[in-house]
């Protein structure tokens, strides 16, 4: 849960660069191009290694020298992952992540509207509080949360994990959504009021569609946070309802040989949703929709 970005998600480098590439006239050099290609390949190599290890024939997996370009492929490592409880861990992970997202998004939408659209006594204090909450080190929270959940008889259950995950997710979602709401000029809503819209109707008909991409992006970020989290899940769940990261960690056991093929197959399956989601927000994050609304 440490990868929380307090600056907001708006700073999307890839999309911003896309609009700038047309400027041209930049001096490029062949050496830089070759270096860029080489570094890209080096950087991607671990990912490539994970993927081919997951699909390699068992005989080809552990060889000296290692096989860099396998010719025989199999899905048997994936089958063993399914046999060893992948699906139950997947179900827990999905359930926990979706519930956390649903709770935090509903709460955060209201809170971010208040912070971005109203001026009220205590607003500045609230904003500082949200920043401070994002800085709280997780293990300082985990100890008391664990003890309290234990007292309530909830520890080692799925609700325990959901409750614990809202702690780091909610401040982050409020903060990020606040940015998206503040990014929509009030003039648009005010125009709707002029046309006789009630404030609630203006919210649903005007503001809500405009912040919808922000809602999607923030939900995905929150989902990824919960999906990837390990430290809380390791303490707050038992084997029966382990999340995927805890399930993956259980393979690392010094007392027996690590089944690398199966582990890589599990890692591939665990990573695919994150990868897909991440690519979605890369595209969606551009503020183009709002900009168009203002111009049009």
């Amino acid at each position: 849960m440490s990868a929380i970005v307090p600056v907001g998600v708006n700073a999307d480098p890839v999309n911003r660069t896309a609009t700038r590439w047309g400027r041209g006239r930049r001096r490029t050099s062949r050496a830089a191009s070759i270096a860029a290609i080489a570094i890209a390949l080096v950087w991607l190599f671990p990912v490539y290694w994970m993927i081919i290890s997951a699909f390699k024939n068992e005989v080809d997996l552990e060889t000296t020298p290692p096989q860099f370009f396998p010719t025989r492929f199999t899905l048997s490592e994936f089958t063993s992952a399914f046999h060893d409880g992948f699906l139950s861990a997947l179900w827990v992970s999905i359930l926990v992540s979706l519930t956390v997202v649903a709770f935090s998004m509903v709460l955060a939408l209201f809170a971010s509207l208040a912070v971005a659209r109203f001026r009220f006594r205590g607003r500045a204090f609230l904003l500082v509080l949200l920043l401070v909450f994002q800085m709280v080190p997780f293990e300082a929270l985990l100890i008391p949360i664990f003890i309290e959940l234990n007292k309530a008889g909830l520890v080692f259950t799925i609700p325990a994990l959901i409750i614990a995950y809202i702690a780091p997710t909610l401040p982050f979602t409020i903060w990020t959504l606040r940015g998206f709401v503040a990014g929509v000029p009030t003039e648009i809503e005010e125009a709707a009021w002029t046309d006789g819209c009630s404030r609630t109707a203006a919210f649903w008909k005007v503001l809500f569609p405009l912040i919808a991409p922000g809602l999607v992006a923030t939900s995905i970020f929150a989902y990824i946070l919960a999906w990837n989290e390990f430290a809380y899940a390791n303490v707050l769940t038992n084997n029966a309802d382990a999340t995927l990261p805890v399930w993956l960690e259980a393979f690392i056991n010094p007392s027996r040989p690590i089944p690398w093929g199966e582990l890589m197959a599990g890692s591939v399956l665990f990573t695919i949703p994150v990868m897909v989601f991440f690519l979605i927000i890369q595209r969606r994050l551009s503020a183009g929709m709002t900009a168009g609304a203002v111009k049009g």
Partner: protein, 332 residues
């Protein structure tokens, strides 16, 4: 107050077609001083559910953590709810007298190494992308985005496989290029090599964000500036010193602060490597130390004391960094 302000506000309100009920929705950033009765309860109603939840699951636990850091709270108290003893600063004293100094030094060195490498490599890659041709640049940025999306858990397990003692690619390559006999080399029993590989995993995963953000920043700098510098005979380094670094300074400072926050709290990567045969007491950073004291050693009181110490240290460091950032933003 409203009697004085009423007529003054009449004009702008009419422009927005306002009947009275619109006043409470004043745009942020343009304070108009309109505090009507309608306005007062709406925002509070909107924030109160979130605030209630946050107080329950962050505020209250924080206070509770502070409380148990002064108690003898172990497995016995956890299971039986048994008698709780107040022990004053004993937990803090035990934390300070046992491992505080080595853990502090280790955390600082690890953070400095990780932040330095991430920022250095990230900056270099951003500069490189600026000079590379179109397709190499796209290839590099796509690779960086892919790696950026890789979860820490996955990243760590890939590197554990790459550094496997028997069939890991790294041992094979190192032996192949005659760097020594790395066949069956165990990377985990030595604390320095374990933390070195943890650094590798962290830097590999953290560089994309830094590189792409800095690259986006670089593209905001007009090429004319560099053209002019080149005409004046400025070389690569003087262009870097006179144009690039000063203009990117706010982004550089922000990224450095974030990296310090994240890297000083590295957890998953080191924990996984420890599970494969590392020695926890020789490789723990602050967070791991508190975690293992509490949940492996079941000394919740001491664990809470360690968390409080680390939170205090981190707070001081960040406060200094943030002040520095605000100052430089003010002068820039």
């Amino acid at each position: 107050m409203s009697a004085v302000e009423g007529p003054l506000r009449a004009t702008p309100r009419r422009r927005f077609g306002g009947s009275a009920r619109h006043d409470d929705l004043t745009p942020s950033g343009t304070p108009r001083g309109s505090r009507r009765l309608v306005a007062t309860w709406v925002p509070y109603a909107l924030v109160s559910p979130s605030m209630l939840v946050l107080l329950l699951i962050i505020g209250f636990p924080l206070i509770f953590a502070l409380v148990i850091s002064f108690q003898d709270f172990n497995a016995f108290q956890l299971v039986s709810g048994g008698p709780i003893q107040w022990v004053g600063f004993q937990n803090y004293q035990r934390a300070i007298s046992t491992d505080l100094l080595p853990v502090l030094v280790r955390t600082v060195l690890f953070t400095v190494a990780n932040v330095g490498l991430t920022m250095g490599i990230g900056f270099a890659l951003a500069l490189l992308m600026r000079r590379a041709g179109k397709w190499p640049r796209i290839l590099l940025s796509v690779s960086l985005v892919v790696v950026w999306a890789i979860p820490q858990v996955t990243a760590t397990e890939i590197f554990q496989w790459l550094f496997d003692y028997a069939f890991g690619v790294v041992n094979w390559v190192l032996t192949q290029i005659h760097l020594g006999g790395f066949q069956y080399h165990d990377w985990w029993s030595n604390p320095v090599s374990l933390l070195g590989i943890a650094t590798l995993i962290v830097v590999w995963g953290a560089v994309p964000f830094v590189a792409l953000t800095l690259f986006a920043g670089l593209l905001q700098i007009p090429d004319d500036l560099y053209e002019a510098a080149r005409v004046d005979g400025a070389g690569f380094w003087s262009q870097l010193r006179a144009i690039t670094v000063p203009l990117l300074l706010p982004i550089l400072l922000l990224l450095t602060t974030l990296s310090v926050l994240w890297d000083s709290r590295v957890f998953t990567q080191i924990y996984f490597l420890q599970q494969q045969g590392g020695i926890p007491s020789d490789t723990n950073l602050f967070g791991l130390w508190a975690y293992e004291t509490s949940f492996a050693g079941q000394e919740y009181g001491k664990g809470a004391a360690i968390s409080m110490l680390s939170a205090a240290i981190l707070l001081i460091v960040t406060a200094v960094a943030v002040r520095q950032m605000v100052k430089s933003a003010a002068t820039a």
